[in-house]
């Protein structure tokens, strides 16, 4: 029976192929949506580990999380250096990583920070940042670049770069008087770190020495040598990553910072803020999922219509089968086998397409959004999706199969054509 079904399908390969393709595309879509959803969550969750609190100017917690850690969007306000110092002096605080954003180089953000960044920043399963080449900055004009910056712009240790004011891809005003020298390149992390250019907080200040009201002052400007001798105490930073000595004090510290009198500040727990982000995003995710399910249904409806449309042309075939002893039940089973073969073909092709899509798309997602989407074997949720598609395909195939059953009962051996 399987042989007959297979050969019959091969005989009608153009329509069969279209049916398989429709299912394959819907399967690829639903798998990719699920994959991106999960990997996006993972990728976000991997970016901050080991940080107890994120502190920034008072805004929304999701907004603070996005601009401080994921470098999405712009900060509304800064934290004054005085507040930073006061927070760092609190007893229960172990370390702080100040983050200063606002400049860029060739579309990559320049991040001003301190040595604490390389010491305390953790990603993934509490992994440290590791240098692929060179070392961390110790001069004002030293810069440490992420792996992707190095790969994309083909930079090596010792190259000079010029940062630009603002964060657009096409920079308008460049800090060309204060070029930076690359002192180190980091190993890939799969986080926004890969796309950042790290300089010291003093470096950020140095870039803006000749900066007045959004433009460089006229004249020769200050030389690097002069700048090195200046007192480059930062006036403000964008955000702080805070590590506590004991996690037990996290809510107390959060409340203390949130009620800080000198300046309106916001402290968030990364995990809680992520949850908040997910609950925001889940509406969109749900919409995407619903669309994908619709597409799968459309694929199955197409399968059904292909089989149903074929039935009329195949009444002769059914009559011949009946004349050589096939029972209407055989005809039913034959059609079920066909739809199953088509669905399974669609699932296998869909899986392949999904891998190709994620394989190609992961590069783009990484570069554009810093999302790391890895190829992986189907996991339980994906297997469940595939199983439901298979079952749905079988059910969808039963309708034309039943139709064929009834027709072959009614037609008998007469070849009504």
């Amino acid at each position: 029976m399987i042989g007959i079904a297979w050969k019959s399908l091969c005989n009608r390969w153009p329509t069969a192929l279209l049916a398989v393709l429709a299912i394959a595309m819907s399967v690829a879509l639903i798998l990719s949506v699920e994959k991106i959803r999960r990997d996006a969550r993972n990728s976000f969750a991997q970016t901050v580990s080991g940080t107890d609190l994120i502190v920034g100017a008072r805004s929304g917690s999701v907004q603070l999380l996005l601009y401080s850690v994921f470098r999405i969007g712009s900060p509304t306000n800064n934290i004054s250096w005085q507040s930073v110092e006061e927070i760092s002096e609190r007893k229960s605080i172990d370390w702080i990583i100040p983050l200063s954003l606002g400049d860029s180089h060739a579309g990559f953000r320049v991040l001003g920070t301190t040595d604490a960044y390389f010491e305390h920043y953790r990603f993934g399963a509490k992994r440290n940042l590791v240098f692929a080449e060179g070392k961390q900055f110790d001069d004002v004009f030293d810069a440490v670049i992420g792996s992707e910056v190095a790969a994309k712009l083909d930079y090596r240790v010792g190259d000079e770069i010029v940062a630009a004011h603002g964060t657009g891809n096409v920079a308008l005003v460049e800090h060309e008087r204060q070029p930076f020298k690359i002192s180190g390149i980091l190993e890939p992390t799969g986080t926004p770190v890969d796309r950042a250019i790290h300089v010291s907080l003093q470096g950020i200040e140095a870039m803006h020495v000749d900066w007045r009201n959004g433009a460089t002052v006229k004249g020769e400007g200050t030389t690097a040598e002069t700048i090195r001798t200046m007192d480059l105490k930062p006036t403000a930073v964008t955000a702080l990553l805070v590590g506590l000595k004991s996690r037990g004090t996290v809510f107390r510290e959060q409340r203390a910072i949130n009620t800080y009198r000198a300046e309106p500040l916001l402290a968030i727990l990364p995990g809680v803020a992520l949850q908040e982000l997910w609950s925001l995003v889940s509406v969109a995710e749900m919409a995407l999922m619903i669309v994908s399910v619709m597409v799968v249904i459309a694929g199955l409806v197409n399968l059904m219509s292909v089989l149903l449309a074929g039935l009329n042309e195949r009444r002769r075939e059914m009559a011949v089968l009946r004349s050589v002893g096939a029972r209407p039940e055989h005809v039913f089973v034959l059609l079920c086998i066909e739809s199953t073969l088509l669905t399974l073909g669609g699932i296998v092709a869909g899986l392949l397409m999904h891998y190709i899509i994620t394989g190609l798309g992961s590069l783009y997602l990484m570069q554009r959004f810093g999302l790391s989407v890895q190829l992986s074997l189907p996991q339980s949720i994906e297997l469940k999706i595939l199983a439901s598609v298979a079952v749905a395909g079988l059910l969808a195939g039963m309708i034309p199969a039943f139709q064929a059953y009834r027709k072959s009962l009614a037609d008998g051996l007469s070849q009504k054509l």
């Binding site: 007959i4 050969k7 019959s8 091969c10 005989n11 002769r316 075939e317 009559a319 011949v320 089968l321 009946r322 004349s323 050589v324 002893g325 096939a326 029972r327 209407p328 039940e329 055989h330 008998g412 051996l413 007469s414 070849q415 009504k416 054509l417």
Partner: protein
């Protein structure tokens, strides 16, 4: 069941209507075919020939009367059993489109053996494998097995296709062969050649032949010729409801 004196086909007081509120299209008091007989059933189109064949082939059931094939009253069989009975006992040849286009010639010939172990075992009775028996039947039908066996059926001429269809009907020697206008798509020369082949092979397998046609010119080659209008008490030559072209 295989009592040789018994007729292979026996119809008694048959009445058949497409719906119980409609007038019957067939009403046959008594119609029998003896074993080994070659019967020509004549009837103009629309006279209910195909309906009668469907009754004998156990596809349709009469509202009244009994049909006995090879000693088995059909009314006693459940639907699934009737399908099995048909493939075990009856070989069918149609006017055209006998073959499944996506199967090879050999697969088409062996098709009924997929559904009937009885036909399969009878096909291999002489110690031949199913393939050898297929070759033998194709050769008997003046087809060269090696040339056409694995060809697609669409590459064959209509005459060749009909001969393959006969080979399929004959495989596993069913006691009754029913041919429904098998020659109407052939020209007159190949028609006679086809009949000769059909007769000689049915002769050697000892089967009974019920041959249906509207072409009275063929009747002379048969043992007996029956006009459906003579045995059908419902005289409605213009009633087309019984069969569609």
């Amino acid at each position: 069941m295989n009592d040789n004196t018994q007729p292979i086909v026996q119809l008694r007081d048959i009445e058949f209507a497409w719906h119980r509120n409609l007038d019957p299209v067939l009403a046959i008091e008594d119609f029998a075919i003896a074993r080994g007989e070659h019967v020509f059933l004549k009837g103009s189109s629309g006279s209910g020939k195909t309906t009668l064949l469907n009754l004998i082939a156990a596809v349709l059931q009469p509202q009244a009367g009994s049909i006995t094939i090879d000693g088995q009253p059909l009314a006693e069989l459940r639907r699934s059993k009737r399908d099995q009975f048909r493939v075990d006992h009856i070989g069918l040849v149609f006017q055209q489109f006998n073959l499944l286009p996506f199967l090879s010639v050999a697969e088409n010939v062996q098709l009924s053996c997929r559904f009937s172990s009885l036909r399969k075992s009878r096909a291999c009775q002489a110690g031949l494998s199913l393939d050898q028996e297929t070759d033998r039947l194709l050769s008997a039908m003046k087809l060269s097995p090696n040339e056409i066996k694995h060809r697609a059926t669409s590459e064959l001429s209509v005459g060749q296709q009909q001969r393959v269809a006969v080979a399929r009907a004959l495989i596993g020697s069913p006691p009754l062969i029913i041919a429904d206008e098998p020659t109407s798509s052939l020209d007159s020369d190949s028609r006679q050649a086809f009949l000769d082949l059909l007769f000689s092979e049915i002769e050697s397998s000892g089967s009974t032949l019920l041959f249906v046609s509207h072409d009275a010119a063929l009747a002379s080659s048969f043992d007996r010729s029956v006009d459906l209008q003579d045995i059908n008490r419902v005289a409605s030559p213009n009633d087309l409801s019984g069969e569609l072209p």
